[in-house]
Amino acid sequence: MLTDYDFIVVGSGCSGVQSAQTLLEDGAKVLMLDVGIQADPNSSIIPNKDFIAIRKSEHNQGEYFLGKDLGGVERSWLKNKNRLTPLLEFVEKTANGNIPLSGLWKDSFLESHAQGGLGNSWGRGVFAFSPDEARKAGIDFNILKKGYEKIASRIGVFGKSKMSLGELSGLEYPLALDKSMAKVWSKFHKNKMEWNSKGVFLERTPLAISPNSFGDNNNYNDMDFWSLENTQGYHPGMTLKRLHEYKRFHYKGNSLVDSYKEKGDIVEVQFSNTLNQKIETLTCKKIIICASVLGTARIVLKSNKAYEHKLPFISNPFFYTSWINMSMLGNANSVMRSSFSQLSLYYKIKEREEFSLMNLYTYRSLLLHKLIREVPFNFRLSYQLINILKEALVFGGVHLPEFQEEENGVQLVKSSNNATGFQLNIDYRQDDKRIKKNLSSIKRKMLSLGCLPLFSKMVNPGSSKHYGGTLPISKTPKPFTLAPSGRLHGSKNVYVGDASGFKFLPAKGLTYTIMASSHLIALNAVKKERYNTKIQLMEKITN
């Protein structure tokens, strides 16, 4: 059986790079096909200094804080269009141009056709599913746990929180809290027992901080949201760099995978070059698709010619909140801090429900003018107000758990308005009442922790950027489902390594679980391949 590669991995996001590393560690010859554009070369213009030093000394800081030609200012003015900081905008630049999304909320579902995928801009919050959450998602926790520990050794997990990480080993100590968060923390701990008895838990947010690349701990330079070069927060580019050290690793960029075809034991993968539209085909023994939930759905539906077939789809409901930490009024917050989430507040609306989660951040490095724009006074007074409150501002991103709902799904539909001839239609409904209930519940809790509500922002479905469930894991071989090993039912050698299989999304971020499960899926696939090769060899000998 002659193929170009042992494995083809589609995508270089968090899932793709972890799958590829596992395959390479096992000795396989791997090709990564990726449509992703590269990081903004301007990233290197940001000096390796902390936020305050940059603000006080760099004359060209507007180029990266406000973007080329100050384009970021216009996006801040439009409020809702301001998703990523200017030098990270490459993350979402080309996806819609390559294969568009359609549907009512198409603009709030974020896809990345960038090298490293959405992982270039993720908040680095690492959360492990509990055994119960894993079961609901369709994953065997005992196996998943090994995946978590392996990934922790690769990316560096800083945090020992019980609710967020359970009893995993190999973890580092959490990052230091700044003064503002330390006050909330100590207020909670005064009545910890009482809070816990009501089902409310506050923990330090565990983070993926890559210790190998830079030293042993975070540099607290508070530039984490601005560039990939001056952050210790893990991003897939760090792993991709390591993959290139293997001779058996091959990377083909600008390659938009269209479909695969199984011919006996061989998988033929068809892709087009996004620069010259040339269509190419390469072969492998097994393919692992890690093109993100929406990207993978396109490839699988197209390969099976399942046009108009509706796949299920899950996305966590999400909203923003902001607070004034009253005990910080008139006090200065710590100078050295990280931009990432510092505290995670778990709570339940009803006893039998799953936990909701609010991650808390203090605000500084995203600059004040964006907030001034939100205040309804004239700019002078708005500036004065925000300038006074800046040390006390706390932001919360709230995620709600989500199960599969029947009406929510994605479909590949024919379309004449782009080169591929298709678009992916998303049908999604969100329960706004549930969000409002969560908001009022959080308000009560935060008030008890000394934080006054400032404003909250309801956002459209899809804004959580946490997606799953299109090809749910199933022990029985039904079409468009995955076996627990990650193999697509009905196929022989097609595996899916991203969150497509997750049948339930807890409120926790899912990326640590994506990485752990993609590692396990790759491990499974490579073992299976070795076993197949052995059998074939034995057959040859006996013949």
């Binding site: 603000r55 406000l66 100050l70 384009g71 004040l368 309804p376 700019f379 007074l381 004065q384 107000l385």
Partner: protein, 133 residues
């Protein structure tokens, strides 16, 4: 230069240099900062005085917060925030007493400016239509 300086003076009570002025005009040239005929007229009247900029902004913060002149004010505010000369205006810590004082006088001034601004902008509107006749 005069225009940008009046607005900066109104926003942060600072005088700006040619450098910030150039950044502002470059951004306006490539970005999407159009003005209607009436907005151009109003800007031409208020640009000479920080006080008038304040009146106009206080009025429009309530009645028309997304207008194109305010968008230019916002652009200048963003430019000032990202210039090392003015970073202290955004980074310095204020004591509780300073904060209370600033907010107390700020709020009183704001209310007065909204009232005066409403009269001022209505007069400008009338003048604009009279000039067009």
């Amino acid at each position: 230069m005069k225009q940008v300086n009046s607005i900066s003076k109104y926003l942060l009570n600072v005088d700006i240099s040619e450098r910030e002025t150039k950044i502002y005009f470059d951004a306006i040239e490539v970005g999407d900062y159009p003005l209607t005929e009436k907005e151009s007229y109003i800007l031409s009247k208020i640009k000479k005085s920080a006080f008038l900029c304040g009146l106009y902004d206080s009025y429009s913060a309530i009645w028309n917060p997304n207008n194109n002149i305010r968008k230019r004010f916002f652009l200048i505010l963003s430019i000032l925030e990202t210039q090392p000369n003015f970073s202290n205006k955004f980074l310095t810590h204020l004591t509780l007493w300073q904060s209370i004082r600033i907010m107390f006088f700020g709020l009183i001034k704001y209310v007065i400016f909204v009232v005066l601004g409403t009269v001022f902008v209505n007069v400008l509107n009338i003048l604009f239509y009279v000039n067009r006749l």
